[in-house]
Point group: C2
Chain length 143, copies 2
Protein backbone atom coordinates (compact mmCIF):
# COMPACT_ATOMS: atom_id res chain seq x y z
CA UNK A 1 0.00 0.00 0.00
CA UNK A 2 1.30 3.49 -0.81
CA UNK A 3 2.54 5.33 2.31
CA UNK A 4 0.74 8.41 0.99
CA UNK A 5 -2.76 7.25 0.05
CA UNK A 6 -3.58 7.73 -3.62
CA UNK A 7 -7.06 9.09 -2.99
CA UNK A 8 -9.38 10.35 -5.76
CA UNK A 9 -10.40 14.00 -6.15
CA UNK A 10 -12.45 15.27 -3.18
CA UNK A 11 -14.97 15.10 -1.69
CA UNK A 12 -14.38 11.93 0.33
CA UNK A 13 -14.08 11.15 4.04
CA UNK A 14 -11.17 10.75 6.47
CA UNK A 15 -11.13 8.96 9.81
CA UNK A 16 -8.31 10.46 11.88
CA UNK A 17 -7.37 8.13 14.75
CA UNK A 18 -4.79 9.58 17.17
CA UNK A 19 -3.68 7.41 20.06
CA UNK A 20 -1.35 6.87 22.98
CA UNK A 21 -0.56 3.24 23.66
CA UNK A 22 -0.85 1.64 27.10
CA UNK A 23 2.09 -0.46 28.35
CA UNK A 24 0.28 -3.68 27.47
CA UNK A 25 1.22 -5.30 24.15
CA UNK A 26 -0.58 -8.70 24.09
CA UNK A 27 -1.17 -9.11 20.38
CA UNK A 28 -1.48 -5.43 19.52
CA UNK A 29 0.92 -5.49 16.54
CA UNK A 30 -0.72 -8.46 14.84
CA UNK A 31 -4.19 -7.01 15.41
CA UNK A 32 -3.21 -3.57 14.05
CA UNK A 33 -1.82 -5.23 10.91
CA UNK A 34 -4.90 -7.41 10.53
CA UNK A 35 -7.21 -4.38 10.86
CA UNK A 36 -5.41 -2.51 8.05
CA UNK A 37 -5.69 -5.58 5.78
CA UNK A 38 -9.35 -6.06 6.71
CA UNK A 39 -10.23 -2.36 6.26
CA UNK A 40 -8.74 -2.48 2.75
CA UNK A 41 -11.30 -5.15 1.82
CA UNK A 42 -14.32 -3.06 2.87
CA UNK A 43 -16.60 -1.30 0.38
CA UNK A 44 -15.76 2.39 0.13
CA UNK A 45 -12.17 2.06 1.41
CA UNK A 46 -9.81 4.46 -0.42
CA UNK A 47 -6.53 4.13 1.46
CA UNK A 48 -4.76 4.47 4.80
CA UNK A 49 -1.74 6.33 6.18
CA UNK A 50 -0.09 5.54 9.49
CA UNK A 51 2.86 6.69 11.63
CA UNK A 52 3.81 6.33 15.27
CA UNK A 53 6.55 7.89 17.37
CA UNK A 54 5.13 8.25 20.84
CA UNK A 55 1.75 9.37 19.58
CA UNK A 56 0.28 7.29 16.77
CA UNK A 57 -1.74 8.75 13.91
CA UNK A 58 -3.68 6.58 11.48
CA UNK A 59 -5.81 8.24 8.82
CA UNK A 60 -8.09 6.04 6.73
CA UNK A 61 -10.00 7.38 3.73
CA UNK A 62 -13.49 6.39 2.65
CA UNK A 63 -15.94 7.29 -0.11
CA UNK A 64 -18.80 8.11 2.28
CA UNK A 65 -20.10 8.04 5.86
CA UNK A 66 -22.09 4.86 5.28
CA UNK A 67 -18.86 2.95 4.49
CA UNK A 68 -17.31 4.26 7.70
CA UNK A 69 -20.35 3.19 9.73
CA UNK A 70 -20.29 -0.28 8.17
CA UNK A 71 -16.57 -0.67 8.93
CA UNK A 72 -17.06 0.49 12.52
CA UNK A 73 -19.78 -2.17 12.91
CA UNK A 74 -17.72 -5.00 11.32
CA UNK A 75 -17.71 -7.91 13.82
CA UNK A 76 -13.96 -8.51 13.81
CA UNK A 77 -13.31 -4.76 14.01
CA UNK A 78 -15.73 -4.45 16.96
CA UNK A 79 -13.67 -7.03 18.86
CA UNK A 80 -10.46 -5.09 18.06
CA UNK A 81 -12.12 -1.89 19.28
CA UNK A 82 -13.20 -3.64 22.50
CA UNK A 83 -9.64 -4.82 23.18
CA UNK A 84 -8.31 -1.36 22.32
CA UNK A 85 -10.63 0.21 24.88
CA UNK A 86 -9.89 -2.45 27.45
CA UNK A 87 -6.12 -2.65 27.31
CA UNK A 88 -4.16 -1.35 24.31
CA UNK A 89 -4.76 2.40 24.47
CA UNK A 90 -4.13 4.86 27.29
CA UNK A 91 -6.03 7.47 25.29
CA UNK A 92 -7.29 8.00 21.78
CA UNK A 93 -9.38 10.38 19.78
CA UNK A 94 -11.20 9.53 16.56
CA UNK A 95 -12.37 12.27 14.23
CA UNK A 96 -14.64 11.82 11.21
CA UNK A 97 -13.96 14.53 8.63
CA UNK A 98 -15.08 15.36 5.11
CA UNK A 99 -12.10 16.11 2.85
CA UNK A 100 -13.06 19.15 0.79
CA UNK A 101 -9.77 20.01 -0.94
CA UNK A 102 -6.36 18.54 -1.41
CA UNK A 103 -3.08 19.28 -3.14
CA UNK A 104 0.11 17.35 -3.57
CA UNK A 105 3.76 17.39 -4.49
CA UNK A 106 5.03 14.44 -6.47
CA UNK A 107 8.64 15.05 -7.44
CA UNK A 108 9.54 13.36 -10.75
CA UNK A 109 13.22 14.18 -11.02
CA UNK A 110 15.71 15.73 -8.61
CA UNK A 111 15.78 19.45 -9.34
CA UNK A 112 13.02 19.09 -11.93
CA UNK A 113 10.57 21.94 -12.36
CA UNK A 114 7.19 21.68 -10.74
CA UNK A 115 3.93 21.80 -12.64
CA UNK A 116 1.16 23.41 -10.64
CA UNK A 117 -2.39 22.87 -11.65
CA UNK A 118 -5.98 22.50 -10.57
CA UNK A 119 -8.60 19.85 -10.07
CA UNK A 120 -9.11 18.78 -13.74
CA UNK A 121 -5.41 18.06 -14.15
CA UNK A 122 -5.40 16.46 -10.72
CA UNK A 123 -7.92 13.90 -11.99
CA UNK A 124 -5.73 13.12 -15.01
CA UNK A 125 -2.62 12.73 -12.86
CA UNK A 126 -4.46 10.33 -10.60
CA UNK A 127 -5.28 8.15 -13.63
CA UNK A 128 -1.71 7.93 -14.97
CA UNK A 129 -0.74 4.29 -14.36
CA UNK A 130 2.28 3.81 -12.14
CA UNK A 131 2.39 7.44 -11.02
CA UNK A 132 2.50 6.83 -7.28
CA UNK A 133 3.53 9.36 -4.62
CA UNK A 134 7.05 8.02 -5.14
CA UNK A 135 7.01 9.47 -8.63
CA UNK A 136 8.77 12.80 -8.47
CA UNK A 137 8.30 16.43 -9.53
CA UNK A 138 4.69 17.09 -10.39
CA UNK A 139 3.23 19.57 -7.96
CA UNK A 140 -0.52 19.89 -7.94
CA UNK A 141 -2.09 22.82 -6.18
CA UNK A 142 -5.82 22.77 -5.62
CA UNK A 143 -6.36 24.96 -2.55
Amino acid sequence: MDPIANTPAPPYYAVIFTSLRADVDEGYGAMAKRMVALAALQPGFLGVESARDGVGITVSYWTDLESIRAWKANAEHLEAQRLGHQKWYAAFKTRIAKVERDYALLRLAPGGTSVRSWAPVYGVINRVPGLTPFARSISIQAF
Copy 2:
Protein backbone atom coordinates in the same frame (compact mmCIF):
# COMPACT_ATOMS: atom_id res chain seq x y z
CA MET B 1 1.24 20.88 23.70
CA ASP B 2 -0.90 17.74 24.22
CA PRO B 3 0.11 14.88 21.88
CA ILE B 4 -3.61 14.34 21.28
CA ALA B 5 -5.07 17.77 20.50
CA ASN B 6 -7.73 18.88 22.95
CA THR B 7 -10.08 20.19 20.27
CA PRO B 8 -13.57 21.57 21.03
CA ALA B 9 -16.80 19.88 19.95
CA PRO B 10 -17.14 19.70 16.13
CA PRO B 11 -17.52 21.19 13.62
CA TYR B 12 -13.99 22.47 13.05
CA TYR B 13 -11.35 21.91 10.36
CA ALA B 14 -8.35 19.61 9.99
CA VAL B 15 -5.35 20.01 7.70
CA ILE B 16 -3.88 16.55 7.14
CA PHE B 17 -0.31 16.81 5.84
CA THR B 18 1.26 13.47 4.86
CA SER B 19 4.84 13.51 3.60
CA LEU B 20 7.89 11.56 2.57
CA ARG B 21 11.17 13.35 3.27
CA ALA B 22 13.90 13.83 0.68
CA ASP B 23 17.48 12.94 1.71
CA VAL B 24 18.33 16.60 2.25
CA ASP B 25 18.20 17.87 5.84
CA GLU B 26 19.59 21.47 5.77
CA GLY B 27 17.62 23.05 8.58
CA TYR B 28 14.48 20.93 8.26
CA GLY B 29 14.20 20.03 11.97
CA ALA B 30 14.51 23.61 13.21
CA MET B 31 12.06 24.86 10.58
CA ALA B 32 9.48 22.15 11.38
CA LYS B 33 9.68 23.07 15.07
CA ARG B 34 9.41 26.78 14.28
CA MET B 35 6.35 26.22 12.09
CA VAL B 36 4.50 24.37 14.88
CA ALA B 37 5.29 27.21 17.32
CA LEU B 38 4.26 29.84 14.77
CA ALA B 39 1.04 28.02 13.80
CA ALA B 40 0.04 27.91 17.47
CA LEU B 41 0.10 31.73 17.52
CA GLN B 42 -2.31 32.12 14.59
CA PRO B 43 -5.99 33.08 15.02
CA GLY B 44 -8.23 30.02 14.77
CA PHE B 45 -5.52 27.48 15.69
CA LEU B 46 -6.93 24.64 17.83
CA GLY B 47 -4.07 22.16 18.11
CA VAL B 48 -1.67 19.91 16.21
CA GLU B 49 -0.70 16.23 16.24
CA SER B 50 2.40 14.85 14.57
CA ALA B 51 4.19 11.52 14.08
CA ARG B 52 6.84 10.24 11.70
CA ASP B 53 8.26 6.78 11.03
CA GLY B 54 9.12 6.69 7.35
CA VAL B 55 5.96 8.53 6.35
CA GLY B 56 5.18 11.65 8.39
CA ILE B 57 1.66 12.72 9.32
CA THR B 58 0.91 16.12 10.81
CA VAL B 59 -2.67 17.10 11.48
CA SER B 60 -3.41 20.67 12.52
CA TYR B 61 -6.86 21.77 13.65
CA TRP B 62 -8.52 25.11 12.96
CA THR B 63 -11.81 26.84 13.70
CA ASP B 64 -12.56 27.66 10.06
CA LEU B 65 -11.29 27.74 6.46
CA GLU B 66 -10.42 31.43 6.66
CA SER B 67 -7.89 30.73 9.45
CA ILE B 68 -6.32 27.99 7.32
CA ARG B 69 -6.05 30.32 4.32
CA ALA B 70 -4.46 33.04 6.46
CA TRP B 71 -1.92 30.57 7.89
CA LYS B 72 -1.09 29.24 4.41
CA ALA B 73 -0.43 32.85 3.31
CA ASN B 74 1.73 33.75 6.36
CA ALA B 75 5.03 35.15 5.03
CA GLU B 76 7.33 32.97 7.13
CA HIS B 77 5.19 29.91 6.41
CA LEU B 78 5.30 30.66 2.65
CA GLU B 79 9.10 30.56 2.80
CA ALA B 80 8.97 27.22 4.67
CA GLN B 81 6.56 25.87 2.04
CA ARG B 82 8.91 27.04 -0.73
CA LEU B 83 11.88 25.24 0.85
CA GLY B 84 9.72 22.16 1.44
CA HIS B 85 8.81 22.05 -2.26
CA GLN B 86 12.34 22.76 -3.33
CA LYS B 87 14.33 20.34 -1.19
CA TRP B 88 12.84 18.81 1.97
CA TYR B 89 10.04 16.61 0.62
CA ALA B 90 10.14 13.83 -1.94
CA ALA B 91 6.35 13.82 -1.91
CA PHE B 92 3.51 15.17 0.16
CA LYS B 93 -0.23 15.44 0.13
CA THR B 94 -2.24 18.05 2.01
CA ARG B 95 -5.94 17.55 2.65
CA ILE B 96 -8.34 20.13 4.03
CA ALA B 97 -11.21 18.44 5.86
CA LYS B 98 -14.19 19.45 7.96
CA VAL B 99 -14.39 17.44 11.18
CA GLU B 100 -18.04 16.51 11.63
CA ARG B 101 -17.89 14.06 14.55
CA ASP B 102 -15.40 12.84 17.10
CA TYR B 103 -15.17 10.49 20.03
CA ALA B 104 -12.46 9.71 22.52
CA LEU B 105 -11.14 7.39 25.16
CA LEU B 106 -9.52 9.02 28.17
CA ARG B 107 -8.64 6.33 30.70
CA LEU B 108 -8.83 7.66 34.29
CA ALA B 109 -7.76 4.63 36.26
CA PRO B 110 -6.29 1.28 35.23
CA GLY B 111 -9.19 -1.14 34.93
CA GLY B 112 -11.70 1.62 35.68
CA THR B 113 -15.09 1.49 34.00
CA SER B 114 -15.71 3.64 30.95
CA VAL B 115 -18.41 6.25 30.77
CA ARG B 116 -19.84 6.64 27.29
CA SER B 117 -21.75 9.69 26.40
CA TRP B 118 -22.67 12.21 23.75
CA ALA B 119 -21.83 15.72 22.64
CA PRO B 120 -23.28 17.66 25.64
CA VAL B 121 -21.17 15.64 28.07
CA TYR B 122 -18.25 15.92 25.69
CA GLY B 123 -18.38 19.70 26.12
CA VAL B 124 -18.39 19.37 29.91
CA ILE B 125 -15.46 16.95 29.86
CA ASN B 126 -13.51 19.36 27.69
CA ARG B 127 -13.98 22.05 30.33
CA VAL B 128 -12.81 19.97 33.30
CA PRO B 129 -9.48 21.58 34.28
CA GLY B 130 -6.53 19.26 34.13
CA LEU B 131 -8.37 16.51 32.30
CA THR B 132 -5.95 16.02 29.43
CA PRO B 133 -5.75 13.00 27.13
CA PHE B 134 -3.35 11.57 29.69
CA ALA B 135 -6.18 11.40 32.19
CA ARG B 136 -7.55 7.89 32.15
CA SER B 137 -10.87 6.01 31.86
CA ILE B 138 -13.57 8.29 30.55
CA SER B 139 -14.74 7.08 27.17
CA ILE B 140 -16.78 9.49 25.13
CA GLN B 141 -18.67 8.16 22.16
CA ALA B 142 -20.21 10.62 19.77
CA PHE B 143 -20.35 8.76 16.47
